[in-house]
């Protein structure tokens, strides 16, 4: 009885949440109400079902085993196969699909950059899109006013974004958690509002039109999605390579220490000020690169492309994929770019309702589901696993009394 009541309440709530999408379809209302209740039932039963639990556990077991047991040679082979697939990909797909893949590439760079700040250094940045905008507008303005080459703008954009990263980082060094999030959010909005209102330079909401596409020599100008595809593939590979090296370097370890405990990190002799600024700069850099590329691909940019929502999506990619995990973040970026595209064609024939209007809703629902079933992300980094699924460690904690005794007797041997 209680359960039925609960299902009803949840259905109503779901109906209320989805109200704006219904328009004047009475039928849809009923469907959504049922869907809400049904969904809740399915989720709760699934969560408590043994098979699903086992299935999830087994999945993460295999994945862990896969990650751990691959030796260097095997890993090279896997990466090689992936690279060949990526290289051949546009040859077997139409322009639209390749175009989506190009967007995936941009977001992979963005998400990997944000992963440095959020995933490794643990600094919650909600204004990350500002650096993307900096890169895009830098190239846009240089191209329109001075016909600067794309290839020169690429490193300039990275440098400029890194500088802005330091500019944002410096005043926020003392802030943590929620406060930092608010300040970075404000910074992101500031940049967008400046772009929107500084008419003389940025042409305000009209945006910049006629940005030049990249070219190789005089003859070859980038025009097809496939051209951009190979370019962004190269940029993404460089990003992955550098971020991976950073992750395993002393700098990466320093970031992780700061994320874990800032005071302790300082006591270990880590220069926290420098390391945090470095995280902001090196994170922003990739957004700058992505921005230059984005501007050259679109040949048109306006402040509309750099809203808070973009920051949120990029953050979602990092969290969904698994904070701090490079393969996870890449997967997160791909999923969150491809999914909304797939939902574009989502259509219920018997209802004559075009679900593409509700695609963001469905998208959000899927996010919620992932977070319920796999809070550590799709491919979590080893450390997140320790935090959220301390399975083996729990067993140890349960044995605590003997455990302490054991310590005592062991130490006595000294």
């Amino acid at each position: 009885m209680k359960k039925i009541l609960r299902v009803m309440v949840i259905s109503l709530w779901f109906g209320f949440l989805t109200f704006p999408f219904m328009g004047n379809h009475a039928g849809l209302l009923i469907v959504l109400l049922l869907a809400g209740g049904g969904l809740w039932l399915v989720i709760t039963t699934l969560r408590n079902t043994k098979t699903v639990k086992q299935w999830l556990e087994r999945a993460s077991f295999y994945q862990q085993g896969f990650q751990r047991n691959l030796n260097r040679r095997d890993r090279r082979i896997v990466l090689g196969i992936l690279l060949v697939l990526a290289l051949l990909f546009p040859l077997f797909n139409n322009r639209y699909v390749v175009d989506v893949a190009v967007m995936c590439g941009i977001y992979i760079c963005l998400a990997l950059g944000l992963n440095i700040v959020v995933g490794l250094a643990g600094l919650l940045d909600l204004g990350y899109v500002a650096f993307y905008a900096v890169g895009a507008y830098l190239y846009g303005l240089l191209s329109i006013n001075y016909h600067t080459s794309f290839w020169l703008a690429l490193p300039l954009g990275a440098l400029m974004a890194a500088t802005f990263g330091v500019l944002l980082g410096a005043p926020t060094l003392r802030l943590r958690g929620d406060y930092l999030a608010i300040v970075t959010l404000g910074f992101g909005e500031m940049i967008r509002i400046i772009l929107n209102n500084w008419d003389r330079v940025t042409r305000g909401p009209n945006g910049l039109i006629g940005i030049e596409a990249p070219s190789l020599g005089k003859k070859f100008v980038f025009s097809q999605p496939i051209h951009y595809y190979y370019l962004i593939l190269l940029i993404a590979i460089i990003t992955i390579f550098v971020v991976n090296r950073l992750n395993h370097s002393r700098i990466g370890r320093a970031w992780i220490a700061i994320r874990e405990d800032e005071v302790a990190a300082e006591a270990m002799g880590i220069n926290t000020t420098r390391m945090k600024l470095l995280a902001f700069a090196l994170g922003a850099m990739w957004a700058g690169l992505g921005g230059v590329f984005f501007a050259s691909k679109m040949t048109f940019i306006s402040p509309e492309s750099f809203t808070f929502f973009e920051s949120v999506i990029i953050l979602c990619m990092v969290v969904l994929g698994g904070m701090g995990s490079i393969p996870g973040v890449i997967l997160g970026a791909i999923v969150l770019v491809v999914l909304p595209e797939m939902l574009r064609d989502f259509y219920l024939p018997f209802m004559q309702v075009d679900f593409s209007r509700a695609r963001m809703l469905i998208f959000g629902m899927l996010m919620v589901l992932v977070m319920i079933f796999r809070p550590q992300g799709l491919i979590p980094s080893a450390r997140r696993k320790l935090e959220l699924h301390p399975k083996k460690d729990e067993d140890i904690l349960e044995q605590k009394p003997e455990f302490v005794y054991e310590v005592a007797s062991k130490s006595q041997e000294l």
Binding site: R253, A267, E387
Partner: protein, 234 residues
């Protein structure tokens, strides 16, 4: 080795240290005792450079260090075991220890020191692949001390190593502190557990509301009437 002269530290408007002077000589164990909020931890944080002092001198081996950033002070050979242990909970025991050697680049010697701290704390060797946060309180304290040792300090600062631990474990830890000292590391110990600290140390300072109110031989302080009343519960 370490000398503080007339050190003043503030938290905003709060005058936390009001002219602290003390001295730690090479090879000694010196303890600083006092109640809650007396300024003991602030003293340590000031030595490490994490809290900047407003006035006074802090010297290490004759060199003023009060204006140096914490990483340089660690590099000079002062290592701190912070209050409440502050281990990195999600890193493994081994990674925690590696973090302690962050400023060092001599890989072979780091390896050696790792073996050394594992011989001091055998339990850590067993648990090296386990996340630091899953250790018991006593083990975490051992890890915190081991981590500080990984920096190969000349002077080890310990902030309340007995905090929240069972008496038996405290005794073990103090035994190991003594051992570390016998190997040649100078130790400056801050403690509320005055009895344990004064028994271990050669010299003691007593702190009240940001000032050193007494200083003497540790054995003499143990016998002192005021100390016995205020800190030993008699």
């Amino acid at each position: 080795m370490l000398r503080l002269h007339n050190v003043h530290t503030f938290y905003g408007h709060i005058h936390a240290l009001k002219g602290v002077s003390l001295e730690v000589n090479q090879g000694e164990i010196v303890c600083l005792i006092g109640g809650n909020g007396a300024g003991k931890s602030t003293t340590l944080m000031s030595i490490c450079g994490i809290n900047k002092i407003r006035q006074g001198i802090i010297e290490f081996n004759g060199e003023p260090i009060m204006n140096k950033p914490p990483d340089q002070i660690v590099a000079m050979g002062i290592s701190q075991v912070p209050e409440g242990r502050r281990i990195f909970p999600r890193l493994t025991v081994l990674e925690n220890l590696e973090m302690g050697a962050f400023l060092r680049r001599d890989k072979a010697k780091i390896r050696e020191d790792l073996d050394h701290v594992f011989s001091l704390f055998p339990i850590l060797r067993e648990r090296q692949k386990q996340a630091g946060g899953t250790l018991s309180g006593g083990e975490q304290q051992m890890l915190a001390i081991a981590r500080a040792l990984m920096a190969r300090p000349k002077l080890l600062l310990l902030d309340e190593p007995s905090l929240g631990l069972a008496p038996m474990i405290v005794e073990q830890i103090f035994k190991i502190i003594k051992e570390i000292n016998e190997e040649g590391t100078t130790i400056f110990l801050v403690e509320q557990n005055a009895h344990m600290a004064l028994n271990l140390a050669q010299k003691g300072y007593v702190m009240e509301t940001g000032q050193i109110v007494m200083q003497d031989d540790a054995k003499a302080l143990l016998r002192d009437k005021r100390v016995r009343e205020a800190y030993l519960g008699e």
